[in-house]
C-alpha cells in the first residue's frame, strides 16, 4: 500500500518526540542526552526513509508525519487551567511602540510590497540569467528565490525602525539586479 512505509517510520519519530518531551519536563543531568537522543531518532527516521521511500519523497513523508505525531503529543499533554482563576503573568515581550506617522506607514507598505517584490524579482532574474548552470535549473532556482527573498524582505522592512535605510537597500538591490539582467541580455 502506498504510503504505509511512512507509517512504519512514525514510531521512530514518536520516540524522538517523546525523548525531547521528557528532556523538556525533567531538567536533570540526563537532559542533554535525552535531547541528543530525541533529535537522533528523528534524524534516523529521515535517514532510513531515503533508501526505502526515495531520496526526496522519504524525508518529505517523514517530516509531515513527524510534525503530526509531535503535535499530537503536545495536545495529549494539554494542561487545563481554572477558567476563572487568573494565571500568573508570563514574561513575554511586547511589540515595539512606533510613532504612528501616516507617511511612514505608507512607505513601509510600499517597501514590503511592491519595492520588496521588485527587489526579489531582480535578484531572482539575475540568478536565472547570470548563474552558471543549465538554463532550466537557473530559471527554477531563480524563480524559487523570488518568494523566498520577497518574504525575507517583507519581514525585514516591516520590523526595521530605520525605514530610509531599508528603502536605500531595496532600491540598490533592484537596480543592481535588473542591471545585471539587462547587461547580460539573454539566457
Amino acid at each position: 500500500m502506498i504510503g504505509l512505509g511512512g507509517l512504519a517510520l512514525a514510531p521512530l519519530a514518536l520516540g524522538g518526540a517523546l525523548l525531547l518531551r521528557r528532556a523538556w519536563i525533567h531538567a536533570d543531568a540526563r537532559r542533554p542526552w535525552l535531547i541528543v537522543g530525541g533529535w537522533a531518532l528523528l534524524a534516523l527516521a529521515i535517514a532510513v526513509s531515503v533508501p526505502f521511500l526515495g531520496a526526496a519523497r522519504g524525508p518529505s513523508i517523514v517530516l509531515a508525519l513527524a510534525s503530526t505525531v509531535a503535535l499530537a503529543l503536545v495536545a495529549a499533554g494539554i494542561e487545563l487551567r481554572e477558567a476563572r482563576r487568573k494565571a500568573p503573568r508570563e514574561l513575554a515581550l511586547e511589540p515595539s511602540d512606533r510613532r504612528r506617522v501616516a507617511w511612514r506607514g505608507w512607505l513601509r507598505g510600499f517597501l514590503a510590497g511592491p519595492l520588496g517584490g521588485a527587489a526579489a524579482m531582480a535578484v531572482g532574474l539575475a540568478v536565472a540569467v547570470c548563474f552558471p548552470a543549465e538554463v532550466k535549473t537557473r530559471l527554477i532556482i531563480g524563480g524559487m528565490l523570488v518568494p523566498f527573498l520577497w518574504a525575507g524582505g517583507m519581514a525585514w522592512t516591516l520590523s526595521d525602525d530605520k525605514i530610509l535605510r531599508a528603502l536605500a537597500v531595496l532600491v540598490g538591490v533592484t537596480v543592481a539586479g535588473f542591471g545585471a539582467v539587462f547587461l547580460k541580455g539573454s539566457l
Binding site: G3, G54, T68, V74, P95
Partner: protein, 498 residues
C-alpha cells in the same frame, strides 16, 4: 488531557539570547503583516486543507461513475474517439486515466458552442455519464485563485503565500521562547496565554510543513508574474518562449487536415517501452490537423514528482520527453512542487497529515489575531467589534463549505461559490448579534449540523446504488468532523479576559 503537568524546573538555556529590542521590532513587523493578511491567509489555509482531498471529493460527489483499476489503450482510444465525434472541431481534449487516487477514465473537451464538458467512460471506453462535480471544482478554485478572474486570483494567492512565509520568518525570530516552551500547552486561565500556547506550539512543530506549503504555494501563485517579467526582459515579452523551455520537443502548428491521431496506438507504444509505469493523462492538441500531437504523462511509483511527460506526434511516434524526471535538478524541483504542496506523494497517511497540519496552520492564523486582540484588551484598549467579527469570520468557513456542499448535491446547477459567499456573509453578520463566545459556539454547532446533513443527503441520494466505496469513507469523515466540532463546544471553557 490531564490536569497540571509536572512542574518543569528551569534548565540552562541552550539557545543564544536574542536582544530584546530586536525581538520587539520583529514582533511589531509580525503583528502588522499578520493583521494585514489575516483573512486571506486564513481563507487560503482553510481551503488548502480541504483541497488536499480534491480527488476524494470528486469521487464522493459523483460516486456512481465507473471505478476502474486499470484500462486498456483500446478503451482510452475508444473514449477519445466518442468524445471527439460529438464535436469533431474540438481544439484539444484532455484524457484522464485511472490511478489509485482517482480511479476513473474521463475525457474533457468543448462542444460546438464552446461549452466545456467532462465525460466518464467505462472499462470498454464507452461514455456513460457526464461529470458533475461542482463542489469539488468550487473548493479547488477557491484555494488556487479565490474565484477571481484571470491571473489576479493566482497572483493574490501567491502574494498571500509570500506574506505567510514572511510571517514564519518574523515569527521564529520574534519568539525566542518558541523552542524553549516546545511542549507547553495550557488551556483556560488567561485568554492571551491560551492563544499564545496554541499559536506557538503548532507553529514550531508544524514549521517544516508551513515552510514547504508557503514557499511552493507562493511560487506556484507567482509563477505567472515571474514568467511575465522574465519574458519581458529576456524574450521581448514573448511568454511562449519561456513556456517552450519546459514543454519538451515542439510540434509545429499546421492546420491542414489529416486523419485523427490514433491515441490507443500512441499509448501502446509508450506502455511497451515503460511496462512498469502508470500513465495518468493524455493531452491531445489540434486533433485532425497535420500539427496534431499528444502529451502523455507517466507516473513513476515512489517518486516525489508530477511524472514524466512524453510528446507523441500524429503518427504515434515518440518525439521525446520534457525532462521532468530525466532532466536536470531544476526540472526535478519543478516536477515536485505540486505534489509537495498538496500532499499528493505518500498515499492517505500523508494526505491526512497534510489535512491536519493545514487545519493547524489555519488555527495559527486565527490565534494570531486573537492574541493581538487579547493584548489590546490587556492594555485597556479592547476592540470588541473586531473580536466579534474575527470569531464570526473564522467559524463561518466550515459552515459555508458545508452548506455549499449540500446545495451542490441537491441543486447541481446552483453555483457553489455564490452559496459559499452568501453563507460567509450571513455568518459573519452574526458579529452584530452576539458575544464572541456565543458566536463561536453557535457557528460551530451550525457547522456540525451542516456536515451531518451533507452526509445524510449524500447517503439518501446514493443508497441502493453501486457506489465508489471512498464515498462512504468521506461521509463517515464528515460525520466525524461534525462530532468533533460538537465535542469542541462541549469542552469550551470560559477563559478570563486577563
Amino acid at each position: 488531557m490531564h490536569a497540571p503537568q509536572q512542574k518543569k524546573t528551569a534548565g540552562k538555556p541552550i539557545w543564544p539570547r536574542i536582544p530584546a529590542p530586536f525581538v520587539r521590532a520583529m514582533l511589531a513587523g509580525h503583528s502588522a503583516l499578520g493583521l494585514a493578511f489575516a483573512a486571506l491567509i486564513y481563507l487560503v489555509c482553510f481551503s488548502g486543507a480541504v483541497a488536499v482531498f480534491t480527488n476524494e471529493f470528486n469521487r464522493w460527489e459523483q460516486p456512481t461513475a465507473p471505478v476502474l483499476h486499470g484500462v486498456t489503450p483500446a478503451a482510452v482510444g475508444a473514449a477519445f474517439d466518442e468524445v471527439l465525434a460529438r464535436n469533431p472541431k474540438a481544439h484539444d481534449l484532455f484524457i484522464r486515466m485511472p490511478e489509485p487516487a482517482l480511479p476513473r477514465l474521463s475525457v474533457h473537451g468543448d462542444d460546438a458552442k464552446g461549452g466545456e464538458h467532462t465525460w466518464f467512460a467505462d472499462a470498454s471506453g464507452k461514455i456513460v455519464a457526464e461529470q458533475r462535480t461542482p463542489f469539488s471544482a468550487f473548493q479547488a478554485r477557491l484555494h488556487t485563485a479565490l474565484h477571481l478572474p484571470g491571473s489576479w486570483g493566482f497572483f493574490l494567492v501567491g502574494l498571500t503565500g509570500v506574506a505567510l512565509l514572511s510571517s514564519l520568518v518574523s515569527g521564529v525570530l520574534s519568539h525566542p521562547r518558541v523552542f524553549k516552551d516546545a511542549f507547553a500547552f495550557r488551556w483556560g486561565g488567561s485568554k492571551r496565554l491560551q492563544e499564545a500556547d496554541l499559536h506557538n506550539r503548532i507553529s514550531v512543530w508544524g514549521l517544516p510543513f508551513h515552510v514547504v506549503v508557503s514557499l511552493t504555494g507562493a511560487f506556484l501563485g507567482l509563477s505567472v508574474l515571474i514568467v511575465g517579467v522574465l519574458a519581458m526582459v529576456v524574450f521581448d515579452g514573448n511568454r511562449e518562449k519561456v513556456f517552450a523551455l519546459f514543454s519538451g520537443p515542439a510540434v509545429a502548428d499546421d492546420p491542414r487536415p489529416v486523419p485523427v491521431v490514433d491515441v490507443a496506438k500512441g499509448l501502446s507504444v509508450l506502455q511497451a517501452k515503460h511496462p512498469e509505469a502508470g500513465f495518468n493523462y493524455i493531452f491531445v492538441e489540434h486533433p485532425g490537423e497535420t500539427g496534431q500531437h499528444m502529451s502523455i504523462n507517466r507516473v513513476t511509483p515512489g517518486k516525489l514528482s508530477r511524472g514524466e511527460m512524453f510528446i507523441v506526434d500524429g503518427n504515434a511516434r515518440v518525439l521525446g520527453e520534457t525532462g521532468f524526471e530525466s532532466g536536470n535538478v531544476g526540472m526535478a524541483i519543478y516536477a515536485s512542487l505540486t505534489p509537495l504542496h498538496f500532499g499528493w506523494f505518500g498515499g492517505w497517511p500523508v494526505k491526512v497529515a497534510y489535512f491536519l497540519l493545514g487545519l493547524g496552520l489555519t488555527a495559527v492564523t486565527a490565534s494570531g489575531v486573537a492574541i493581538w486582540l487579547a493584548r489590546r484588551r490587556d492594555k485597556g484598549r479592547p476592540a470588541p467589534r473586531w473580536e466579534r467579527v474575527w470569531v464570526a469570520f473564522c467559524w463561518s468557513q466550515p459552515l459555508a463549505y458545508g452548506v455549499a456542499a449540500m446545495v451542490a448535491l441537491l441543486a447541481p446547477g446552483a453555483p457553489p461559490v455564490a452559496v459559499w459567499g452568501g453563507v460567509t456573509l450571513l455568518a459573519s453578520a452574526s458579529a452584530f448579534l452576539w458575544t464572541p463566545q456565543v458566536i463561536s459556539i453557535r457557528l460551530r454547532l451550525a457547522s456540525a449540523v451542516s456536515l451531518v446533513l451533507v452526509a445524510l443527503v449524500h447517503l439518501g441520494l446514493n443508497t441502493g446504488r453501486s457506489v465508489d466505496p471512498v464515498a462512504w469513507i468521506m461521509d463517515a469523515s464528515l460525520v466525524l468532523g461534525a462530532v468533533l466540532l460538537a465535542a469542541s463546544v462541549k469542552l469550551t471553557k470560559t477563559p478570563t479576559e486577563a
